[in-house]
Each structure stands twice: as structure tokens, then as C-alpha cells.
């Protein structure tokens, strides 16, 4: 039956709760700021519509009939194959684990050197472990080089 000798206008529990909430809020804010800071910037992989290789823009004259070459553009890595007078563009990133595919003129197939996936010239899967087809890329060839017109499905 003893009364509390010191009046407590604000209870200790309330102060602790406020301190805890404040600390949580500060930590959450900091975590958000760190995430925003580290989040990849859009457009870091952006390029032009002109396909370029390691040594500069790809030269269409250097791609013979039945040959293929990989270049980089604003839609990512693109495999260009010249077959029957036609320019065929496919995404050069294997749909399995992201390796760069290449054109094999002997087998007339697109091949992934990492896990052996094979694709046809329309991007369709001929052999696993890849399950998804390579995306088609519309190309435009002129005196400047090989341009990416649009990325299709």
C-alpha cells in the first residue's frame, strides 16, 4: 500500500518505446538510403543502335556469307548472322546462364560454349539446358555499319 514517492509525468515505458521507435526509424532510414545509393542506375548498359565490337563499329563487309559476329548495342549483345543474303539478328545472351553464344558455320547452329545449349537461326532451342528461345533483333545494314532497328520476341 505504499504510494510512489516521485511523480512520473511520462512513464519510463513510454520513453523506452519512443527511444526504440526512434532508433528503428533512424536505422530504417539509413538502410533505405544505402539501398538507394547502391541500387543500379538505369541506363548504365545503354549504347547506341550501331553495333560495336571490341575494335569499334562492326563492318558489314567483314561478315562473309554464312558467317556470324557478336556486337554490342543499346539492346545488349546481339549475334548477327549473314545467311542466304539475309541479315539475321538474335540476342547473343544465352537464356540458360547468360554466356555469350556464337554462330557455328559448320553445324549452322547457334551454340553456347558454357553448357552446350544449341539454337536455330530463328532463336528456337534445339538442345538444352536452355529452355527459352533467343530473342529476335531487327537489323538495318548501311554504309555506316549494322544498326539495331528493334528487339522482338
Amino acid at each position: 500500500m505504499s504510494a510512489d514517492p516521485s511523480p512520473q509525468p511520462v512513464s519510463r515505458r513510454l520513453v523506452n518505446a519512443l527511444l526504440g521507435l526512434g532508433a528503428l526509424g533512424a536505422l530504417g532510414g539509413m538502410a533505405g538510403a544505402v539501398l538507394a545509393y547502391l541500387w543500379p542506375q538505369p541506363g548504365q548498359a545503354a549504347g547506341s543502335d550501331l553495333l560495336t565490337g571490341t575494335a569499334g563499329p562492326l563492318n558489314p563487309q567483314a561478315v562473309g556469307e554464312g558467317q556470324g559476329v557478336v556486337g554490342r548495342s543499346k539492346v545488349g549483345k546481339v549475334l548477327v548472322v549473314r545467311q542466304g543474303g539475309e541479315w539475321i539478328g538474335l540476342s547473343a545472351t544465352c537464356s540458360h546462364l547468360g554466356c555469350t553464344v556464337s554462330w557455328n558455320p559448320a553445324s549452322k547452329q547457334v551454340e553456347c560454349p558454357c553448357h552446350g545449349a544449341r539454337y536455330g537461326l530463328r532463336g528456337e532451342v534445339l538442345r538444352g539446358p536452355a529452355r527459352q528461345a533467343l530473342g529476335r533483333v531487327e537489323l538495318k545494314v548501311d554504309a555506316q555499319g549494322i544498326h539495331v532497328a528493334a528487339a522482338g520476341g
Partner: protein, 386 residues
Amino acid sequence: MKGVQRALWQWLDQRLHLEPLAEALWQNLRKVVPPHVNWLFTLGATLAALLAAQVGTGVLLMAYYKPSAAQAHHSIEHLSYEVPLGWFIRSLHAWGSHLIVGLALLHLIHVYVYGGYKKPRELTWVSGVLLLALLLGFGLSGYLLPWDQVAYWATVVVTQSADSVPLAGPWLRRFLIGADEVSDPTLGRFFVVHVILLPLGLLGLMGLHLLLVRWLGISPLGRADEPAPDSEALRQRGGHPFVPYHLLKDLAAVWVGLGVLCTLALLWPSPVGEPADPLVTPLGIKPDWYFLPPYQLLKYVPEAVGVLIPPLFFLLLLLLPFLDRSPERHPRGRSRAMAAGVLVAACLLLLGVLGHLSETTRTILGITYHFDILGWPSHAGGKAAP
């Protein structure tokens, strides 16, 4: 000299009151280790020494390494071909990483077999498994830093696997590599993780692990539900104090470990690979040997399942002391645990060997075999190619 030492100690003790701390430390170091403690119990000390050497060579490498996609490979070439002993420091660091992971796995197997994870050493085990995860993180982040073809494409394959994580896969992968594909931001991130974040974690966890090991002492072979024998009982059974008997064994093993490291680095220096080319994937890209089991597993099961199995396996390892509640420590009384351990080790070994052999052509006993992507052999001719 002794007078100077004594005067220095008195000066420190008068200010910091170190005497009780030194006495407690000395008592701890004089604890008697159980009689079954043999050379296999020196793995932890050897591992600690190799980690210290790894920190030393890592600091030296940082004096020349440049963490940018445009300069990283050139800085490795400069370090390996022009800097005096640069090739040796780099080889020590590369071989050190292999030895450390190998010894850590042996240490884990040893503790598992002797039941050292049981009460009251559950937290020692947990901190050890977390340390192993950190070591694998070091391996993964450090592998990319030379920015050569093998490093680049192995990192592409490993980080692309994160894409298959249910729900957050593509988000997670993009955050990990800092861009849409492995490139300059990835190198920056992996560098910071390798030289700042993981070493800080290592320092904290190693400190905790060693503290727990010294505080609790080496695990006896008796049952976990029996009271632990004191130093006198252990001495009567043939045990010896940690200092100097086991410490000398530890030091001998440390010198052997460092000797093996130097020998490997001298005889087989780390080669400098071709610079990374994101437009050309070379044949035969494989991760380091300790990542071969999950790499090979991904070929047999759907990616969404394959990427979840390694973290689940690690979680099981972490929770082992809380799942295996039997108080028996001696391997002879834990036949089921031993069988499970052998089965897991055999599966990992088999996956590793299949991963190593896959997509290669080898001649075994005069017959040439081609091992396909799954690691299955097919007859490829009677003789090896010249």
C-alpha cells in the same frame, strides 16, 4: 632485459590493473586437453595462420591492384611481370585461398566426426559454419578481381544463377552485380566486399570462435549429458596442459602449412589469363573446385530448385547441433550420423568430380572418353589425340 620487461609490466599494471586478466589467461592456457587430442586438432591453428598470411598478401596486392574494368587486368599483368616478387605474392594469395577452404572443410569434418558441435559447444559450431560461408564469399568475390576470361565468365554463370531464385531472382542478381550485366560496377562491388566487408566479418567471427574455443576448452569424447571432466581427471587419463604441449604441436603444424603454401606458390605460380571479353565466351568455363558441386547440380535439376539447395544445405549445417540432440559424442556410438555424413560427403565429391570431368575429353587406361555436359562418359576412340 628481464628488468626492463618487469618495469614495463609494472608500469602497465599500475595503470590498467592487468594482473587478474593475465592470471585468468594463464590459467586458461594451462587447461589440460583430453588425451584423444592428436595432430588432427591442429587444423584450426593452421587455418588461423593461413588466414593471417592471406590478410598480409592481400594488403600487399592492394598496393598495385586497380579495381576498374579498364585497369584491373593490366594491373595484374604489371604486378605479375614487372613488380619484384609480385608473381610470388599473387601466387601465395591464390594458393592460400585453396588451402584455406580445403582445411576449413577438413576441420568441419573433423569436428563433425568427434561430435564437437554438441552441448555446450553449439555456438562454437554455428560461428564456425558462418566462418565457412564467409570463406566461400571470399572465394567468390576474389575470383572476379583479376578480370580475366575465366574469372569474368565464371562470375557471369554464378551470378546468373541468382536469377532463378523464386520471386526476387532478377532483382537480387541486378543488385549483386550493380548493372544489367557483369561490368565495371560489379568489379567495384566485389572489390569492396572482398577487401572491406568480408574481412570485417571475418575479424568478428574469428574472434568469437577463438574465444569460445578457449573458454569452453577442447571437446571431450564423453557423452554431452555427463559432467565434463576437470583438468585433474583429464591429467590422470593421460592428458597434458595446452601450454606448452599442444601449443608446440599447433606451431609445428602452422610451419608445415606455411611451408606447403610457399612450395605450391613457387612450383605452380598463378598464370595471368586473357583479359575479360564480354563478347566472347571461351570453352570450358568452370568455377573454383569448391563451387563445382552446386555448379554441376544446376545441370541436373531445374534452376529454381538448384539455387535453393546450397542455402538449405548451409542452413541444415548451421542448425545441426539443434537437430542432432543425441548426447553421444563418440563416432562409434553415432552410426546413423556417421552414415549420413559419409553419404553427404560422397554426394558432394561425386558432383565435384562429375563437374570437373564434364565437357572434357580424357584418356583413361588407353581409352579416350568424352564426358558430356552431365559428366557421363562416352567412348570417343581407342587412343588419345597426340
